[in-house]
Amino acid sequence: MSRAADLTTAFFARPASWPLVLTGLLLAAWLIHRYGWLNPYQQQILMYVGIHIILTASLNLVNGYMGEFAVGHAAFMAVGAYVSSLITVRLFPFQAAPLLFPLALLVGSLAAGIVGLLVAFPSFRTRGDYLAIVTLALNMIVKSAIENLEVIGGPRGFLGMQRLTTLPWVVFWVISSLWLLRNFIYANLGRGVLAIREDEVAAELLGVDTRRVKLHAFILSASLAGLAGGLFAHVVQFITPRSFDIVRSTEILVMVYLGGIGSLAGSVIGATVYTVALEWLRFLGQWRMAIAPLLLVFLMILRPTGIMGLREFVAFIPREERNLRARLEALGRGRQGWPPAGEAGRVGPHGPA
């Protein structure tokens, strides 16, 4: 174990560490935004990174942690983007919009969650590839539905949003989303999610209500994608159905499998690396768009679990789960069969950390 890793572990073992880091992050984001420490272009890239982190982590819950294969996440993003934009443009008074922005995001996210529920209900009744087909279809349906709705601009798109998404807001929503996902995963429903990935039949025969688990996971995933959509719409200030086509969905898939399935740290890494890399490759012009599908193919062949692949940074594991070894030691003190054969290393509940 490297010294840096040990220091990280020691740092995050202290109860006050997380609030400190998060406050620092938020403060830094606010300072950058307020005093323009980074130019608008750089800030925009950072915002895209944050939005992509939310999208990636949300899809990772279904595809990585649960082992299903949803491919149309842009559909939920579209629902969140259009609903929140309609609210801020048509419903909110212009001056009050910045204050009410979080409300619009939450309603957009809720709408995406409801669409997620409508999709999850029929598609989880059967097994296997069905979900992939249904989500792919959903992506196309949502896109053509928007194209045919003239009230919201149809194929020409929808505009008029103020640039309400700022770096501090993005940082805030990224932190909230990851926190929500972490708490979900390291609790009873999250254990159910992992059990479904490992062996659905065995899970069901141990009393795991697999339908309830899947619904929860899918709705949570869809809502977070909707939230990301709302943030996205208020950065670019102009959305069209084409912003949420299958190419966008593919990009999210690439970020999930690049960063690593079943890992929040992997989602952060995947989203960051992909977003920044794509900016660097702007000179390639249209050819840039060929990168995502190609990358997906190569990843699936060469490293199907991604960079982090089912591993997690200690910082993303709740404290109670991080010191399992110590807790077990306390439980097993004075009984036989302890200490364990292996040396005391850092171990998370899902395997080595």
Binding site: L180, N183, F184, A187, N188, L189, R191, G192, L194, A195, R197, E198, D199, V201, A202, A203, E204, L205, L206, G207, V208, D209, T210, L310, P318, E320, L324, R325, R327, L328, L331, G332, R335, G337, W338, P340, A341, G342, V347, P349, H350, G351
Partner: protein
């Protein structure tokens, strides 16, 4: 009093009658075995009891209540747990996690609790952790608690599967060929374990077995299945001498001698 009662249970897969009009009882507190040649329909019977398949006819009564039509998870909550012929552990998860998952249906905390991870959440989780660890200790698996289940030695994987099933606190434990692939010493240890389980936890055990030795040494009552039909029931000694059983195992003509 029968804890489990199958009344004329049938299951047809297309043209194949996998289980035909099966009637048998599993008395509470006893060890009952289901034996039969390969393909006799033994595992199908377990799948019918646990709700993996739905019977095409008949009733399955557990403690007097009909189980037919209930989803598997609901049947587990009624108090039936099982293991599998081919081990079905969550191989990528730790041994501890395997057992913790078995507590799924018993968790009472709601979304508010897991969101905040406050005191009620932590107390319940602590209780689950302690109970899970205790199951590992009882089965001599404590030192593997944080190892991936798939990395355990074969015999220990079998035991972990039983520990995991027991963690659902069943009244009836279904063991599907628990001794498959074990050497004689391991079979001996397994028999010891099953006796200990029955004595310590008042759990009724219904087991499918191939190895006669194990059935003979353990069970009070043995049912024999062949081509989905019950061909004999009785004590191990009775069954061993039954002409139709000999015929099923050794072929036509063997029973007549």
């Amino acid at each position: 009093m029968a804890l489990l009662e199958l009344q004329g249970v049938s299951r047809r897969f297309g043209g194949l009658q996998a289980v035909a009009d099966l009637t048998l009882q599993v008395p509470e507190g006893e060890l009952t075995a289901l034996i039969g040649p390969n393909g006799a329909g033994k595992t199908t019977v377990f799948n019918l009891i646990t709700g993996v398949y739905r019977p095409t006819g008949g009733r399955i009564l557990f403690d007097g209540q009909d189980l037919v039509g209930l989803p598997p998870a609901a049947i587990v909550q009624r108090g039936i747990a099982r293991t599998f012929q081919s081990i079905r552990l969550f191989k990528g998860l730790t041994a501890l996690e395997n057992v913790r998952i078995a507590h799924f249906a018993r968790v009472t905390y709601g979304p508010g609790a897991w969101l905040s991870r406050g005191r009620p959440f932590r107390e319940e989780e602590e209780a689950i952790l302690a109970a899970s660890y205790q199951w590992l200790e009882r089965f001599g698996l404590a030192r593997y608690a944080l190892e991936p289940a798939g990395s355990l030695p074969y015999g220990d994987q079998r035991r972990l599967e039983i520990a995991r099933a027991m963690a659902t606190r069943p009244r009836l434990l279904l063991l599907d060929e628990p001794a498959a692939g074990m050497n004689p010493a391991e079979v001996e240890a397994l028999m010891e374990l099953i006796r200990w389980l029955q004595a310590s936890f008042q759990v009724t055990i219904f087991l499918i077995e191939h190895q006669m030795r194990m059935v003979m040494g353990l069970c009070q009552v043995v049912h024999v299945l062949d081509f989905g039909r019950l061909i004999a029931s009785g004590t191990p000694d009775e069954v061993r001498r039954h002409p139709r059983v000999l015929e099923a195992y050794l072929g036509q003509g063997a029973g007549g001698s």
